[in-house]
Amino acid sequence: MGETITFWVLAVVSVSAALGLVFSRKAVYSALMLGAVMLSLAVLYAVQDAPFLAAVQIIVYTGAVMMLFLFVLMLVGVDSSDSLVETIRGQRLWAMIAGLGFAVLVALAVGNLVVAPPTGLAGATQGAGGNVPAIAELIFTRHVFAFEVASALLITAALAAMVLAHRERSRPKPTQKVLARARFLSDHPSPLPGPGTYARNNAVDMPALLPDGSISELSVNRVIARHEAEEGGLPEDPKLAEAIRQAVEEESK
């Protein structure tokens, strides 16, 4: 009875989270939905006499794989949303129809099976004394070759990730001497004014005031200025807004 309730709750949760994964516009929401699916699957494993796999599912999938996905999302840019242009015409519609057909076909085939009540794993795990010892015994005896090959695969994958993500420096790293010379050749030998200097507060988006009370657009952080201009969230103070707009123009030049 308890298993039935768990199953139905988690089935609803996981299927709706999977639908959310496919249909949410933002990639971060998709990642969170995938995390929800993986967690509910971990509970389903635990219910089905697989406590070791449940732990591994949480540690490897929701712990490592999801974090990797989120890191790459942050690297690639959270804003990178889908293009809505279809390169193959009607691809979305036909994909939906094919998916629906596949689901109905296989679900009907599976649903019409007559299965005996599950044997249960009590017999298989009894000899070793528990699920984890039984799995360990099988992995280190019958499947030991596959286990060693898996370790080789993991090392290869780690090396491959390092090789793929490594970038050669195309020009030599500028030394302190080069940087200092470049700075004295430019218009501003002194450090740029920090945000908020002489202003009423020292938030990073507050431009510094020059001694005559005017606003120095050099002190506005470029990234924040561009973001604010794109979002249309310019401050109400006209002098501030003007400074931010100028900073963005400097940037786009």
Binding site: A11, V15, Y45, A50, L68, P118, A157, A161
Partner: protein
């Protein structure tokens, strides 16, 4: 109960497959592949209990290992493509086609 688990597994697999077909963002398509692998694991665990045999659980364990390796390499490839082409859309990576 076995049938229920298998139908759930089929549903999750189908949703993942549809996601791979309709999403253009490489990372989301990759997440859908992970969803398909997870659905297969659920079927393996279900059959392991059905037959009273631990081999299904061990295969699910190896699937997880291979999936972890695959995610590492796949995401590194996505980052590399993003670096050179400034895009994570799978429609843009079409140079091998011509």
């Amino acid at each position: 109960m076995t049938t229920h688990y298998l139908v759930l597994s089929v549903l999750l697999f189908t949703i993942g497959a549809v996601g791979v077909l309709i999403r253009r963002n490489a990372i989301v398509a990759f997440m859908c592949v992970e969803l398909m692998l997870n659905a297969c694991n659920l079927a393996f665990v279900t059959f392991a209990r059905q037959h009273g045999n631990l081999d299904g659980q061990i295969i699910a364990f190896f699937v997880m290992v291979v999936a972890a390796a695959e995610v590492v390499v796949g995401l590194a490839i996505i980052v590399t493509i993003f670096r050179t082409r400034r895009s994570a859309s799978i429609d843009d990576a079409n140079l091998l086609k011509y």
